[in-house]
Structure formats: structure tokens, C-alpha cells
Amino acid sequence: MTAVVEVSDLSKRFGQFTAIDRASFAIEENTIHGLLGRNGAGKTTLMQLMTGQDFASGGSIRLFGENPVENSRALSGVCFIKESQKYPEDFKAKHVLRSAPWFFPEWDAAYAERLVADFRLPLDRRIKKLSRGQLSAIGVIVGLASRAPLTFFDEPYLGLDAVARQIFYDRLLEDYASHPRTIVLSTHLIDEVSALLERVIVVDEGRIVIDSSAEDLRGSASIVAGPRATVDAFVDGRDVLHREQLGGLSSVTVARLSEAERSAAARAGLELAPVSLQQLIVRTTTSTSDKEWSQAS
């Protein structure tokens, strides 16, 4: 694996407030990353730091092997679509699509046209007059058609309806398969995107609390369900992340189980179910005791 961005010991303070706290992680080449976390966790700040838009208070960032700040060479491989992207005064969508190729050498105009049709984006209306969803559609279209080696989508689908979001996910996967590149998707709609993600980076209060492949993460915990006594006997002495009881039945989330343990559970008549990415992340970003577990995993 090659890293297109390598972040080590990165900190960002705004006065007394520590927005990013000694973060270290890598963005791997040709991989779809989920940058997940609650609102205000530091996702946007991290992306602004990686793209040279903001300045680090400590630590280092290498973008394509170079310092990103004011680095035209490194930044020319980056497209960063923000949640509430600003557009030049009096621009229409057609102006965005006309000018984008000057900045992205890999821009695919025919693909952009198909996306415009998919999202039913009016090209000849002032951007100021567009709906929230149409505004987001412009960003999504630019992010996809730019084919930039490194594309950041920061909550790109504000106001997009379920159909439009599905179109975005589908097009992203298709295009990624035919034009592999590095994608960082920041979102709090975790379940919706979990099938897309190959790597997951979770940030909470400025700290990286999970940095793992999505597959490892999904296997890092299971739900064990069955009669309460049987479940209690099975989970005794294990890391219990969450416990729910209903009458004589119990459902307990436990840390990673080995193959032998899984078959033992099956023999005991217990049901095993995977934990969704969303549940895992909610558990790791809500309480401190859970945080310790996630760092161990």
C-alpha cells in the first residue's frame, strides 16, 4: 500500500480550543476512505489541513510526499468538495462545468453531462436560485467528473433526497471501479455509506479513535443473542460493549470472537450477528470507557 497522504502527530489549536489532537494516520492510494465522526469532531478541519487550506499547529502532513501548504504541484492532484461549497457571484452550473477542466486534467466532460442528467441539474439557472439538493448535486458532479487522484467529499449530499444519494453512491462505485483513485468521504450517514468504504477513520473530539480496514472493523465485534443464562455464561469474562435484555432473552455485543469461539457459541444454541458499522462507531464515540476498547481493537 502506498500512502497519498501521511499525517503524523498532527495538532491544530484555535486559541484555547484543540480541534485536532496529535492525530496520526495515512490515506492509502486507490482506496475509498470514510472519515467519520460526530458534528464538530474535527473532520472538516482535518481535510482542510490535508489540503493546505488550514495551517497545522504541530506535527506534519505529507500530501503526495510533500508539504501541502501553498504547494501547487501537490495540490493540483486534489479536489475538495465541501458541504456548503461557495461559488463565484452570479455563477450558473454551466460556468462551473466549463471552468472545471482547466483545473483537472483528467476531467471527463461526457461523464459530467451524464451526471447532470442523472441529478436533473438545471445548468442555466443562477446557483443562488438553486435548491439545497441541486447545490449539492453540483459539488457531487464536479467531485466525480474531476477524476482527481485525491478527492475529498465533505458531507456532500446535504439536501439530496434518498434517490439522489443512491445515484451518488452507485456512480461513485462504478466510476471508482473503472478509474481507481483515492476518495475520502466524510459523513455522519454511516450506514448508508458503509458498503462503499474500504477503510474507516473515526475522529472524536479531535482524536483518531479508529483507523482500520472496514472489514477488520466489522469483524471486531459481534452480537450474541439467546436465552439470558446461556448468553451470560458465554460472555462471562469477555469485553462486553453493550447489553440489552428483554424478558428471558439477552443480546450482548462482545469484542472479536475466534473461529473456535464462534462454533462454541453455535453449539450452545446462541445466535451470532454482525454489528453494523454505525452501531460500532456510535458505541466508540459516546462514552469514555468504550473508547478504551476501540483503541485496543
Binding site: 500512502a3 503526495f64 510526499g65 458541504e83 457571484e89 452570479d90
Partner: protein, 259 residues
């Protein structure tokens, strides 16, 4: 992960900084309505209205002395001055909205500022040429047949066409870079930056006025303006223009686009 593998990461096509500057330049012109079409259209409208007014005055004021008075009055015409304020606004918007947009495209602050400055210079040149041509026509037709002034008003200085051209050019540069400099302050420090910088400028001006007053320097100041003349004052404006241009860059270099 070693440094060697990092350096080889994703060998994307890396355009030169020059081509990024050019891309920013073109970006400002992709929608030419606001910067070119609308200002000329407004100017054309104002011109037509003025011609109508001159014709009315000409018809009403029949005695030669009244006519001379009216013609003299038009040399203080402010009809074309909106263009300069308009260009300040163009510069403000260029920095305030186009800068965050361009940063999303991976454009550095330096490339953005260079590209935008080239736009300001190009627009200054275009408007200076336009106004010079109109001023020359105005002179050649004896004020459009009415002895009127719109493009040869006193504030634009006086002289042969190339002097007029240079003066218009300098005036436009002043308004563009002043607008851009204030916009960079806003982009970097938002409203608080504007308040502080306006406050600071007010204090500096006040201090200058106090200094001149206390040292009985007003006659000297008046004498300087008298001997420098309007042409000279416009030329001197190149100094604050240059200061604004450099300040704008230094301020923008530390700015982060925020929502």
C-alpha cells in the same frame, strides 16, 4: 512507510504553476456578464440619459452665457465615476467568493492572487482604453455637440490621449487593489477584521490631520496639491495601490476559507 514510497505516490499529471495562474485568470472571465457586459451597459444607459439632459439644457438655455455656465458645470460630471466603485465591488467579490471556490480546486493562495491580479490589470487596461477612446471622441466632437463633459471630467486629469490612458489605468488599478485588499482582510478575519482595519485607518488619518494642523502645515499641503495637479495626484495613487496589492497578498497568504 518510507519516504521513497511516498515520493512515488500517485504520479498524477502535475501542471506548472503558470498554467494554474492562467486557469484562475480564465475562471474570472468564464461568466463575463458581471465584469464586462453589465458595466458597459450601465455606462451606455447613463450616457444616453446624459445626452438627453444636455439636449434639454441646450434647448432651454438659449443665451450664450447660460450655455457656457451649463457646459462649465458638466466638467464636474460624476456620470462615469460609478465604474470605479463598481470595479472595487468586482474585486471584493473576486476574493470573497472565488477564492474559497478555487481553493476547493486545489489552487494555492499564491496562484489565486497572481491570477486575480492579472485580471485586475487586464480589466483596468480594457476600461482605461474604453474611457480614453470616449474622452477623445468627446474632445473631438466638442462635447458630443453640446460642449458637455462626461469622460473628460476634471477628476480624470487632462492631457494628450496617452496621458489620459495612463491616468485612467492608474485610477482603475487603485480601485481594484483597494477593494481586493479589504476583501482579503474580510476573508481572513471576517467582520472583526473589517472593524479593526477601518478603525486603524481612521486613527492613522486622524493622526495625520492632527500632525498637519498642529504644525500649521495646511498651506503646505494645499500648495503641494496645487503644484502636483490632478495628473500628479493620480500618479501618486500608484503608491497606495502598490501598498494595497502587497498587503492583500500578505493577508491572503494566511487566510483559510470558511463557511
Amino acid at each position: 512507510m518510507t519516504a521513497a514510497t511516498l515520493a512515488e505516490a500517485s504520479p498524477h499529471r502535475r501542471p506548472s504553476s503558470g498554467s494554474r495562474v492562467l486557469a484562475v485568470f480564465r475562471l474570472h472571465f468564464v461568466n463575463p456578464g458581471t465584469t464586462i457586459v453589465i458595466p458597459w451597459a450601465i455606462l451606455a444607459f447613463i450616457f444616453i440619459v446624459n445626452v438627453a439632459i444636455w439636449a434639454l439644457i441646450f434647448a432651454a438655455a438659449t443665451s450664450p452665457s447660460d450655455r457656457a455656465d451649463a457646459q462649465e458645470g458638466t466638467s464636474w460630471s460624476g456620470a462615469a465615476t460609478f465604474l470605479f466603485a463598481y470595479m472595487s465591488v468586482v474585486a471584493v467579490q473576486a476574493v470573497n467568493t472565488t477564492f474559497p471556490f478555487a481553493q476547493g480546486y486545489g489552487v494555492t493562495r499564491r496562484d489565486f492572487y497572481l491570477g486575480s491580479s492579472l485580471v485586475f490589470v487586464a480589466l483596468s487596461a480594457m476600461y482605461a482604453v474604453g474611457l480614453t477612446v470616449l474622452a477623445e471622441i468627446e474632445t473631438a466632437t466638442d462635447g458630443w455637440g453640446f460642449g458637455a463633459h462626461m469622460f473628460t471630467a476634471v477628476y480624470y486629469g487632462d492631457g494628450p490621449w496617452f496621458v489620459r490612458l495612463g491616468l485612467f489605468f492608474a485610477l482603475f488599478l487603485f480601485f481594484f487593489f483597494l477593494g481586493a485588499a479589504f476583501a482579503t482582510v474580510f476573508v481572513r478575519w471576517k467582520a472583526i477584521g473589517m472593524i479593526v482595519s477601518f478603525g486603524a485607518i481612521t486613527l492613522v488619518l486622524l493622526a495625520a490631520i492632527a500632525l498637519v494642523t498642529l504644525s500649521d502645515g495646511w498651506p503646505a499641503v494645499g500648495a503641494w496639491f496645487g503644484s502636483t495637479g490632478i495628473n500628479g495626484v493620480i500618479l501618486w495613487s500608484l503608491v497606495p495601490t502598490a501598498v494595497a496589492a502587497v498587503t492583500g497578498y500578505l493577508v491572503l497568504r494566511g487566510a483559510t476559507p470558511r463557511n
